[in-house]
Symmetry: C2
Amino acid sequence: MQKDRILLAHGSGGKLMHELIETLIVPPFKNPILEVLDDAAVIDLGGIRIAYSTDSFVVDPIFFAGGDIGKLAVNGTVNDLAMCGSTPLYLTASLIIEEGFPISDLNRIILSMKYAAEEAAVEVVGGDTKVVNAHSADKIFINTSGIGVIPDGIKVSGANAKPGDMVIVSGYIGDHGISILSQRGDLGFEANISSDCAPLNDLVAQMFKTSGKIHVLRDPTRGGVATVLNEISLQSKVGIVIEEEKVPIREGVRVACEMLGIDPLYVANEGKLVAIVAPEDAPSILECMRNHKYGHNAEVIGTVTKEPSGIVVLKTSVGGKRIIDMLVGEQLPRIC
Amino acid sequence: MQKDRILLAHGSGGKLMHELIETLIVPPFKNPILEVLDDAAVIDLGGIRIAYSTDSFVVDPIFFAGGDIGKLAVNGTVNDLAMCGSTPLYLTASLIIEEGFPISDLNRIILSMKYAAEEAAVEVVGGDTKVVNAHSADKIFINTSGIGVIPDGIKVSGANAKPGDMVIVSGYIGDHGISILSQRGDLGFEANISSDCAPLNDLVAQMFKTSGKIHVLRDPTRGGVATVLNEISLQSKVGIVIEEEKVPIREGVRVACEMLGIDPLYVANEGKLVAIVAPEDAPSILECMRNHKYGHNAEVIGTVTKEPSGIVVLKTSVGGKRIIDMLVGEQLPRIC
């Protein structure tokens, strides 16, 4: 491992990426908004609280079961905005296209972005198009940024988890990652799993109508559920205990993960959220989620504990316990 | 020319890019904010007018005389926000990095973004880092998006030019494009020209203090002064007449352009603006600009006419007239 060069693992969403961001990228820009390190920045603009986020998408392949890079780029930013409790309103879209890319594919991607924006009820208000020489990029990369408005009274953050809170996941985990791997041929077999790529803003809006005690929302994309739970435990200075048998995983995803020797807790999702909520409201929030098409298979998977701070523990189905660290190294390059 | 594939010219800032954007990209997202097609979107957010913009930077080489891709990425978005009359406040930065990229180069670029953000008095409040396999991107691409607030009473747009208005350019044109070409070896000789890469928001702020009659502001990046004047003439449904001998061009840029057979009016700038202003205020605005370090060599280069609508005419120094179209085809790939 060359320590002086960027590795694929620096983009994995895991430990190396966190180190890179926290030592090299964030310190020069040090400011209170950036330091929060939630999914979106929260800014007070003349009394209006806005959420503001950006993401670049480099997924390979660009078309996959359940979506494509365009749908992913819209939903990815919509979800980052929703995870801050905001109502996503406006997006920008910036394309980097490789010379020779088929215009028909571009058209298909643009239409997919249009439908995704319509479903999420956001407007694309600006954009940019760059073209680079053949072999200077791989087909197409899409950046989206987005702005949402946070309604009065809503305050969620990765730093707000409290001992006693319940951890809810909105449905089957790992679908997106396994779908991408399968279609790239990395599995060596056809998993027949579709990406879960979906906008979560309406689900979040319904959850807030049900309860004012939602403390944390996160979408477990790169690095999966294990990595976001680690982020939350560090930000909130709490422990988190997860019960393995309660984590909803599709049979196909479980089998694919076993064959590859990877843990589904680290596999990327693009239409799921992790919510950390006050225990007294957990039943009503869970019911609300299960009544929504994007929360149908929601489950309470664990609890927040006072100790050990910054540590996520998995109670295995055979009664053991093990520490679940952030993703270390690179598991699934170009998953989003 | 393959009509069904993306060409480098689709990213040139010229005619093909406009066609692509106007036929394929904008129509699916049709909404009143997007359709304005100014440098940034202008959005009313609960009574506050904000400017919102995005740009991806793919410049090659990534380090050049007068700047680097990081400085360019900050100033490019700062300038787009300033061209809408806004005070730029917040940026996001999203990196796509090729596996194997030297961390020392990344550090240099991040520091350069920091200094650029400090000079422009903006805060970087969010970001994203993706890593792609070797040869799937060329070194590093940077997207920035930005938000600015438009002070009450300020209203500039490419659609606001009026017959009788004066056309001002803020200094020597073509420096950025010729600098990049020279350092890429495309010139076949060393031009010794530095990029003009600079933030223009303070210059714009001083101009608005001087006059309330600034109708249009544009930064002539890809496609150069000729292309932005064409855009303005189309948006405002006016003619524009430029006097060749009044256009400020450095000797080195003039010589380089002559040797390459390219017109400096089409060469990219990254620290210049075109202002279209009421004739009665042109002298005071020009004086204000000349007192600013980024407007020192400002000149009135032409006037807005009623006819011919949508056409830009150049009066040559030998007394002839010719129509200056938008850039057609590809002149300078990966200039920004």
